[in-house]
């Protein structure tokens, strides 16, 4: 069954207040076109989770679409910090539950396996766990290992409503490949109630069946498939295109104040009707072509 649809329709399936797990890591495979469409459609009150906060999360927070983040810290690598997320935390306007990368991943892992909780060695003795206990009260607990008698910190599973994952290629049913490191994406998909796949390219079901061991996301977990070239721009997609340094710098500059960020949104989000118009506005094919990855290097 084909699940191929438009970005607008896939985004339209998300109710305000939903919990989304997004596939970005810093400035790689971020769900940027998706985030821009969420903002245009006026979806709000979201919870965003990610094991490392990325540019897709920061854009959504900066646009006021997010009430709560569950993440393991994050940055835009050398380009800068997650300025919008940080501003929300500093002003108290954003509820941020801050873990480590592995503890968020373990929460997805528990969710993906249908387990009631998962023990972890991380977080003990840190101020991270003290803050999380104060904020949530119920997402962490200490138990006794029934076999050894040892005391263990345990985490509650994360069960997002929707995982949104940027991939290189998928078939129309949503069977998808992720080339390069997959960070927390396999666990995000399996922990979530359903998944939206954003693919740079749709490949045939035959191609999937010829190399099924390369399938990272089973189509059975996918509700919508969107084919959208350069959907992660200005972040990178391994073996497809490099990050656009000039556009990320532009974002970092704009994020410095709410006013300049509002102007950024007016220009590149609200000021364009869809992803195609966005790509034209950031320079079109002349600008995007040089970003295409060298086939041997992958960037």
């Amino acid at each position: 069954m084909t699940k191929l649809t438009t970005l607008a329709e896939a985004v339209g399936s998300i109710p305000s207040g939903a919990h989304l797990a997004l596939s970005g890591f810093a400035i790689s495979r971020c769900t940027m076109a998706f985030a821009r469409e969420v903002i245009r459609q006026g979806i709000r009150g979201l919870t965003i989770s990610q094991c490392v906060g990325a540019m897709d999360m920061d854009l959504l927070v900066g646009a006021g679409a997010v009430d709560r983040v569950i993440y393991g810290g994050g940055s835009l690598d050398r380009f800068g910090r997650l300025t919008c997320v940080n501003r929300g935390i500093e002003s108290g306007g954003l509820q941020a539950e801050e873990y480590s990368s592995l503890s968020v991943t373990f929460r997805y892992l528990a969710g993906s396996l249908g387990l009631p909780f998962i023990p972890i060695r991380s977080l003990r003795g840190s101020d991270l766990i003290k803050r999380i206990e104060e904020q949530t009260g119920s997402d962490v607990a200490t138990i006794t290992d029934p076999f050894s008698g040892e005391s263990w910190l345990t985490l509650k599973p994360l069960l997002p409503d929707v995982a949104v994952v940027q991939v290189q290629c998928a078939d129309q049913e949503g069977n998808a490949r992720i080339l390069g490191p997959r960070w927390d994406n396999p666990e995000q998909v399996r922990a979530s109630k359903r998944t939206i796949v954003i693919a740079e390219e749709i490949i045939s079901n035959d191609a999937i069946r010829q190399n099924p061991e390369q399938t990272v996301i089973p189509g059975l977990l996918v509700s919508h498939v969107v084919e959208l070239p350069f959907a992660a721009h200005p972040t990178s997609v391994y073996r497809a295109y490099d990050y656009d340094a000039r556009q990320i710098e532009n974002y970092v500059q704009a994020a410095r104040t709410p006013d300049t960020f509002r102007a950024y949104l007016d220009h590149l989000v609200y000021g364009v009707k869809d992803h195609q118009e966005y790509l034209k506005r950031v320079g079109g094919i002349d600008r995007l072509d040089p970003l295409r990855a060298d086939p041997t290097l992958g960037y």
């Binding site: 890591f25 810093a26 400035i27 790689s28 490392v52 906060g53 990325a54 993440y71 393991g72 810290g73 994050g74 940055s75 690598d77 050398r78 380009f79 910090r81 997320v85 940080n86 935390i89 500093e90 801050e98 873990y99 480590s100 990368s101 592995l102 503890s103 991943t105 373990f106 892992l109 972890i120 060695r121 991380s122 977080l123 003990r124 003795g125 840190s126 101020d127 991270l128 803050r131 040892e150 005391s151 263990w152 910190l153 390069g180 490191p181 997959r182 960070w183 927390d184 994406n185 666990e187 972040t235 990178s236 391994y238 490099d242 990050y243 340094a245 990855a293 290097l297 992958g298 960037y299």
Partner: protein, 254 residues
């Protein structure tokens, strides 16, 4: 003629010297990357380098802007996931050394990468943990690399992101953690930790500095050995490798 080298190069070389052949090392970007690649290209060819997001043993030919940059994944033997690297290798206990940087550390090697200021009043939020807390909690030992400044080496830090020896003594063990920091490498000195009190202790001073230089630019008084030697300077070959092979554009050394 004396060899010309920068304090950052000495820090990278000192970091490399802490690594042994066949060890498994979890690395973040910056100086730790230079230290690890230097060790691998000199005395530790069988060392394994891990990046948290799912990268094992890369051989980059270009410098990257961060761990999310495919340039630093080049020629890896494995590209997998957080569960694979931080779970099945680190959490399981197979990582010998974790390399960590930070905004601040204290006399017990606790590290802050989260925020500066008062977490209950006014503060600036920075980066957070990423895999740092996991590495500090699960690696057999950690090496901290940090600039030698009073505002970074403080008696108490704003936020404990990654545990060192917590309040000293056996408090780390009582929290259920093994391992702990083995070294702090700054641009003026190398520190270890007292085996019982777990207090930071000056082990060596980099050439060109005095003990007063080291102690006068810290926010707390570390323990000091009776005879503090000078840190061994880099060799000509180590400096050449850093400048010509590992970081020719000076992206990691700053």
């Amino acid at each position: 003629m004396e060899l010309d080298y920068t304090p950052s190069e000495l820090m990278a070389v000192a970091g490399a010297r802490e690594l042994q052949d066949r060890e498994v090392v979890a690395v973040g970007l910056g100086l730790p990357v230079v230290a690890s690649f230097l060790a691998k290209q000199t005395h530790a060819p069988n060392m394994t380098i891990l990046f948290e997001l799912g990268v094992i043993d890369p051989e980059p030919v270009d410098c990257g802007v961060g761990l999310a940059d495919p340039r630093v994944w080049h020629r890896a033997t494995v590209l997998s996931s957080f569960v694979d690297i931080l779970g099945a290798i680190l959490h399981k206990g197979l990582v010998d050394v974790g390399f960590l940087g930070g905004l601040e550390t204290d006399p017990y090697g606790n590290l802050n990468t989260t925020l500066l200021g008062d977490p209950r009043a006014t503060f600036r939020h920075m980066v957070g943990s990423g895999g740092a807390n996991d590495i500090a909690s699960c690696a057999r030992r950690t090496i901290i690399i940090m600039r030698h400044e009073a505002r970074k080496l403080k008696p108490a830090i704003s936020f404990v992101t990654s545990p060192g020896y917590l309040a000293g003594g056996d408090s780390r063990e009582r929290a259920g953690l093994h391992g702990g920091p083995s070294r702090v490498i700054t641009d003026k000195a190398i520190f270890g930790f007292h085996p019982e009190t777990r207090q930071m202790t000056v082990l060596s001073i980099h050439p060109g500095n005095t003990l007063d230089d080291v102690l006068g630019t810290m926010g707390f008084a570390p323990a000091v050995l009776q005879h503090v030697p000078y840190t061994q300077p880099p060799t000509r070959e180590q400096v050449r490798l850093i400048r010509e092979v590992i970081d020719p554009q000076g992206m990691y050394m700053g």
